[in-house]
């Protein structure tokens, strides 16, 4: 049986490049140099695990990110590794041929393939808002998931719902863990997720034949264990109290912290500030714009990207914690003032009627 290494060599990739990829992957997984040879060994000896890549309601930004994986090898490696037995966006065949590939892979590797899902299923109108291969996507998803070994939820769509599930969510789009219950699901959120994170997750699963360690929300800890904020290169400005006050001000030119501009780095778990994007060129904060929190649950519905104290929709578009709480506190204070006034008047009246008795309560 063909191994990953065989596939790579067949594609003209040198052994040197292959080992570099193994080292990079070991490092990005936080495993240390000891694991690089183990990854190499696994890729050299293990039979290739087929991956089926399904697309539901989505914008394909996950695929776009994936095929731009920074490491010169990664896209070859991973595309070869996945071989994409089925990926309707990337595969050469289409229509009935493509469907035949899918059915063949499911039958041949029953219980042994990995299902990667990009996008999510809409449930309204029996799932008719997303049709693939003439059937509602939700049915296709359930059918393919049934015989999968494990499921990867690519991106915010498959993990949380993303923009199509934002209020009012007319198609009733749901994350895949609302329709797949009996398989281990690994969530790799982001809109899109970082390419290196995606390739490393796949590599880990193929190398060690198990899921990476997940956090409470089902995300791999090695990439989603810390916030953008925790490793942000602008963090010293945050601690010093040096903030961008408005776009293009002196602070913005000096690269101060974007906290006041509504940067969601302090509430967003992702690896952008360490891994960065496009071969480590930059990431949003590095380009002078705050993080919008795209890898967090329901980030479209958490108020403005540019507010620190974000709005609370249930109380109206313009309301935030301070407008609601401040109003209530002001009403309370006004009530207290009125009550104090009436108290004073009542006591004055009682005292006036009875004279200043020894009992202050006006007995």
């Amino acid at each position: 049986m063909e191994t990953f290494y065989d596939v790579l060599r067949r594609q003209g990739i040198t052994r040197r490049s292959f080992l570099k990829f193994c080292s990079l992957t070991a490092t990005s997984l936080g495993l240390g140099s000891y694991f690089a040879p183990r990854i190499a060994h696994a890729l050299e000896t293990k039979p290739r695990t087929p991956v089926i890549w399904l697309h539901g309601l989505e914008c394909t930004c996950c695929s776009e990110s994936f095929i731009r994986s920074a490491h010169p090898l990664a896209k070859d490696v991973v595309l070869s590794m996945l071989s994409l037995d089925y990926d309707d966006t990337l595969m050469a065949s289409a229509g009935l041929q493509a469907q035949a590939c899918l059915d063949e892979t499911i039958a041949k590797y029953k219980g042994n393939y990995i299902l990667a899902v990009e996008g999510n299923p809409p449930l309204n109108e029996d799932g008719m808002y997303c049709i693939t291969g003439g059937k509602p996507f939700v049915e296709e998803l359930k059918r393919v998931a049934k015989d999968a070994k494990a499921v990867i939820a690519w991106g915010a769509c498959a993990s949380w719902g993303c923009v199509q599930a934002a209020k009012p969510n007319p198609t009733h789009a749901v994350p895949i863990d609302k329709v797949i219950f009996d398989k281990p699901i690994i969530k790799v959120p982001g809109c899109p997720p970082i390419a290196e994170v995606m390739t490393a997750v796949v590599t880990y699963m193929l190398t060690f034949d198990r899921l990476p360690e997940l956090d409470r929300q089902g995300r791999p800890k090695m990439f989603y264990g810390q916030r953008i904020h925790d490793k942000c290169y602008r963090r010293p400005h945050f601690d010093a109290g040096q903030f961008v006050e408005s776009w293009d001000d002196e602070g913005a030119r000096k690269g101060y912290c974007l906290y006041k501009m509504g940067c969601k780095g302090p509430t967003t778990y992702n690896a952008c500030s360490t891994t960065r994007w496009n071969d480590g060129v930059s990431f949003p904060i590095g380009s002078g714009h705050g993080c919008i929190g795209c890898s967090e649950d329901g980030f479209w519905d958490k108020g403005s990207f540019y507010d620190r104290v974000t709005g609370i929709k249930q109380f109206g578009i313009e309301a935030n914690a301070d407008k609601i709480g401040g109003t209530l506190a002001a009403v309370t204070a006004a009530g207290v003032a009125v009550h104090a006034g009436i108290t004073a008047l009542t006591r004055a009246k009682l005292n006036h009627g009875k004279g200043f008795g020894k009992d202050g309560s006006g007995e």
Partner: protein, 233 residues
């Protein structure tokens, strides 16, 4: 358990001049709350709305770090004093339990509660003297202040765990709170909103104790210093 709070219902209290209510740990707890909450509200608002930026090199300043440090320290102080306060509810006198145990199944308590409501609505002048909290005050503390304080501590330590990191004690104990709310930004929003509940409580609490002190013949404010409730007649 103190079923009802009025001292008048007990004939032995006819000539009562003063009664020891708040034991030292309760008084200490109260004033620790006072200081901690004041620090928490001020620093909390500064965290949400940071002061104008400092100048010069980042390495020369730690302004926002100190603000956050003060917030976290006050938060820890508040939490520890609550733990001691809960302990004292077990070993202290009857009044130390009023914050946690409200006799809502007791008819007399409800009668006194309604009596209180009416007197606050100026329908009659209050004639009952209370040793501990009056029923309305007790209800406000047990159902408004105490839950709000615990909400703040739970959400507060959940957010603290984000900085402390995975595997820290706060992550192990309170990390589950963040997915419960959806995500971290939601926890921040609710933590901020609940601060205003505490502000409202402080406004009403301060007004009520001062009003009681002025309009009735029993001590209120000084009781939280000395521990004794004194009756002037």
């Amino acid at each position: 358990m103190l079923l009802h709070n009025s001292v008048d219902t007990d004939p032995r209290n006819k000539d009562l001049k003063s009664i020891y209510i708040y034991e030292a740990p309760v008084r200490l707890w109260h004033w620790v709350m006072f200081i901690a909450i004041a620090v928490l509200i001020v620093t909390g608002l500064l965290i949400a709305y940071p002061p104008p930026s400092t100048n010069g090199e980042a390495s020369a300043h730690f302004m926002f770090g100190y603000i956050r440090f003060a917030h976290f320290t006050a938060g820890y102080t508040l939490a520890v004093s609550w733990l001691l306060r809960i302990y004292w509810a077990f070993v202290g006198n009857d009044y130390s339990r009023q914050l946690f145990l409200v006799p809502i199944f007791n008819r007399i308590w409800w009668q006194e509660f309604l009596y209180d409501v009416k007197s606050y609505l100026f329908l009659h002048v209050r004639e009952i003297k209370y040793s501990g909290h009056n029923p309305m005050a007790q209800a406000a503390m047990a159902f408004m202040f105490t839950p709000a304080a615990f909400f703040m501590m739970i959400t507060g330590f959940a957010m603290y765990s984000e900085g402390a990191g995975k595997g820290s004690w706060s992550d192990k104990v309170f990390g589950w709170v963040i997915p419960l709310f959806g995500q971290s930004q939601d926890v921040h929003t609710w933590h901020h909103l609940c601060m205003w509940v505490i502000v409202m409580f402080v406004i009403v609490h301060t007004y009520m104790v001062m009003r009681q002190d002025v309009t009735t013949r029993e001590s209120i404010v000084s009781t939280m210093v000395s521990g004794y409730r004194t009756f002037k007649d």
